[in-house]
Amino acid sequence: MTVQPADVLLGALGALALGAGALAVTTRQLVRAGLWLVVALGAVAGEYLVLTAEFVAWVQVLLYVGAVVVLLLFAVMLTRAPIGASAGLDRTRWPAVLVGGGAGVGLAALLVYAYRWSTVPLPASDNATGRIGAQLFRSWVLPFEVLSVLLLAALVSAVVVSRPDIGARPEARANAGPGERA
């Protein structure tokens, strides 16, 4: 039972991810929750790097840390969140502790039972991104195209949801003033 450097890295990054995630779901300050989420997602990206999934790691950094967290912080600020700690962010804790803890401990027990302390060699990481691209556009090209349609649908639906004059009830549309009547 020797400890490898990759194991040490995985353990350290995992502890960082878990600690930052715990702070993100328990902090009383809205903006700090977003910043702790950055740390947690960055640590998960580091785990991907150790697991020789470089492409997924950098996509994670670009999309999650770059785009999703910025969107979340935008939403925090657009909803006029207070700067300091705010009360009333959480509701009763014990059902959430029960369900969350049960899910976490149950999954952990199942995975420990399945994998024990087995070791696996890491695969060679030469040209991994090229091989992912080949797989993506050979075996998975139909889901890829469906996802592009889904992204377009999400974009259009976000625009429609944000425009109150589209799809409103007729009386509401009458209230919206002249020119808005479709």
Partner: protein
């Protein structure tokens, strides 16, 4: 050589934290952040399984992780549009104050209409 149980345990912990956050948070934006934690746990399981299991179709787990990341981006876009619309309508994004009945008459009579969305 790695022990695959380490990233699996991290993923289980992240999923539990995300489930706790989804259930305990009242603020809709914080709830979406907890959903992101759960999605990341699933991605970590996918990537770890892809690295440690010899599959007939190689790299399928990483491709699935990429798909999940794209789905999460779409989800966060639509979700935040809904949250912002809710804030414009009700001046509050507490998810346990959302009325389950038809809010039409209440909103038209409510104080937030004049400067809000239809004014």
């Amino acid at each position: 050589m790695i022990h695959p149980v380490i990233p699996y345990l991290v993923a289980a912990g992240l999923f539990g934290l995300g489930a706790y956050g989804v259930l305990v948070r009242r603020n809709a934006v914080l709830l979406l952040m907890a959903v992101e934690l759960m999605l990341n746990a699933v991605n970590l399981v996918l990537v770890t399984a892809d690295t440690t299991v010899r599959a007939a179709l190689p790299l399928g787990g990483q491709v699935f992780a990429l798909f999940v990341i794209v789905l999460a981006a779409a989800e966060i876009g639509v979700g935040l549009a809904l949250v912002l619309q809710m804030y414009r309508l009700r001046q509050s994004i507490a998810v346990d104050e959302v009325p389950l009945s038809d809010p039409e008459t209440e909103q038209l009579a409510g104080p937030t209409v004049g400067s809000g969305v239809w004014g």
